[in-house]
């Protein structure tokens, strides 16, 4: 099975600033379910951009579903943070159909097949009956399911969710994780969150990111690393295989190449 994500010695940032991520290495197997946690400003969003091919690495290699990120992007089901909050004239089905953008070319309408796929995703997520409803009349949890339906639009090999639980209540979170776990049967999942409480037992591995990576299982005791880098000890000690990505407070911003 091709790994969903293989990152080796990734260093990246926004020139001319200092690197946001340094020497990060991560692997998510083809059937993996990884939670990527870390403080705000720790580089989570930057990593998401690199995976999506929106940001080019300064050095190191990133392979997504066996391909360079920009080539793999159409097969990555991206679920952004709850965008857009602003009112926009679209129905749930309209949004789900956007998952088919790029599959059906310009100067053509969405095909019957596109519509069938979008409806299938909405139904799978239990919101088929909301298809014709305007997005801005849906609840936070419902809207999120629409965004996941959109991401499922092209049969992705990897589902990448950015802060998916930010605006969803506890009860919805539970059914949400059950849903992800079900999806995990057919694709790999990477879930990015700053909310440690949001990571459930369905997750198969955890990476904590705060600028650099320290790999667990090689030479450093994980618990100590976890504490030093501000990663949640309970989670790390939970028995899930994990990696800790972080940097000590006094590490500074210099970079030695």
């Amino acid at each position: 099975m091709i790994p969903a994500l293989e990152i080796r010695d990734l260093t990246v940032g926004y020139a001319p600033g200092p690197p946001v991520l340094e020497d990060v290495s991560l692997t998510v197997p083809g059937d993996g379910f990884m939670a990527l946690i870390g403080p705000n400003g720790g580089g989570k969003t930057t990593l998401v951009k690199v995976i999506l091919g929106l940001l080019r690495p300064w050095s190191g290699s990133v392979i997504v579903l066996g391909l360079p990120p920009s080539k793999a992007a159409p097969r990555v089901g991206y679920v952004p943070q709850m965008v857009p909050g602003r009112s926009f004239p679209v129905t749930a089905l309209d949004v789900a159909l956007m998952g088919r953008l790029g599959s059906t070319g310009p100067f053509r309408r969405y095909t019957a097949d596109d519509r069938a796929k979008a409806m299938e995703s909405l139904s799978f997520l239990g919101i088929g009956e909301l298809a014709g409803r305007p997005m801005d009349e849906l609840s936070g949890g419902q809207r999120q399911r629409v965004l996941i339906a959109r991401a499922l639009g092209t049969d992705p090999g990897l589902l990448l969710l950015d802060e998916p639980v930010a605006s969803v209540d506890q009860e919805t979170q539970e059914s949400f994780f059950n849903l992800l776990s079900e999806l995990n049967g057919r694709l790999a999942i990477v879930l990015v969150t700053h909310d440690v409480g949001a990571v459930s037992s369905h997750v198969r591995s955890i990476a904590c990111i705060n600028r650099i990576l320290v790999s667990h299982g090689s030479t450093l005791p994980a618990e100590a690393v976890a504490e030093a880098y501000g990663c949640p000890f309970e989670l790390v000690a939970h028995g899930v295989p994990h990696r800790v990505v972080g940097h000590p407070a006094g590490h500074g911003t210099g970079r030695d190449d």
Partner: protein, 284 residues
């Protein structure tokens, strides 16, 4: 009123009202959902430079306006995209003012007082020529081909640009296409209400339509129909009251906008979920 239809200028004015309603429905909707109404103001005012240049060179003013509108739209797009881009606000303000200034300079250089000037600033619906109508019809055709052919792409990039890029859509190209259609529409509507009032023609019908329909396609149709009704009734009212048609159309549109917005707010009232709830949730 029926006698008036015997006059060519009146028939031309009616045709221009209908042709411009098509553009303000389709492109106005895109402008409103993208919250780019200031952009249309900037393009309109920038095109004054083109009008001045055309006066100075003795060319047809509409072509001068169109050329400069396109150039300034692409200029704004170039300045405001890319990693180290200008704030759209600043870029639009600069083009807005520079166009007006260039227009003044060209008019001075041309040595004439340019009596036509007022008509470009405030519209000249009653002096639309057959040639103008031909050009307007051509512009409508271009707009319909672009907006119709790229509907789902334009909707996708407007709703969630990042997702659209991940799906492989060429964002800069679509942005350019949007800018071109917006410029064409601005120039077309200028004939109706003048460059100063174009913003209202562009945004009011679409904003009112948005209050009662969901879905971008329906919004385009509804705002096109509304624009047509507003244009025709404004024109009729202006003729009856002997007032400038462009200004009457704008005043009528503005009144409809205010009343419709207030009514919609009341109808939604407490008890029904307001759109702002979703916004508040997501802005944390």
């Amino acid at each position: 009123m029926t006698d008036l239809l015997g006059h060519a200028f009146m028939r031309h004015a009616l045709a221009a009202s209908a042709l411009s309603a098509v553009a303000s429905g389709a492109v106005g909707t895109l402008v409103v959902v993208n919250r780019m109404s200031t952009l249309t103001g900037a393009i309109a005012h920038a095109s004054f430079g083109g009008l001045g240049l055309a006066f100075a060179l003795g060319l047809p003013p509409m072509y001068g306006a169109l050329g400069v509108a396109l150039l300034s739209a692409l200029g704004i797009a170039a300045l405001t995209s890319g990693p180290r881009s200008e704030s759209p606000d600043t870029a639009m303000a600069a083009f807005w003012a520079m166009g007006m200034a260039a227009g003044l300079v060209f008019i001075r250089l041309s040595g004439s007082y340019a009596p036509d000037l007022m008509s470009w600033l405030f519209g000249s619906l009653l002096t639309v020529s057959r040639g103008d109508l031909f050009l307007m019809a051509l512009m409508d055709l271009l707009i319909l081909v672009i907006v119709g052919g790229l509907f789902k792409e334009l909707a996708g990039i407007s709703y969630d640009p990042e997702f659209a890029v991940v799906r492989g859509l060429p964002a800069p190209l679509l942005r350019g296409v949007f800018m071109v259609t917006a410029s064409v529409t601005v120039v077309m509507l200028m004939k109706m209400t003048g460059l100063i009032l174009v913003m209202a023609m562009m945004t009011i019908p679409a904003s009112v339509a948005r209050l009662s329909v969901h879905g971008m396609g329906r919004m385009m149709v509804a705002s096109g129909v509304l624009a047509l009704v507003l244009n025709l009734s404004g024109l009729g009212l202006a003729v009856v009251l002997d007032l400038p048609p462009g200004a009457v159309i704008i005043l009528l549109s503005g009144t409809v906008y205010a009343v419709a917005t207030l009514l919609a707010r009341r109808r939604r009232g407490p008890g029904r979920r307001l759109r702002s709830v979703g916004t508040a949730q997501n802005s944390q």
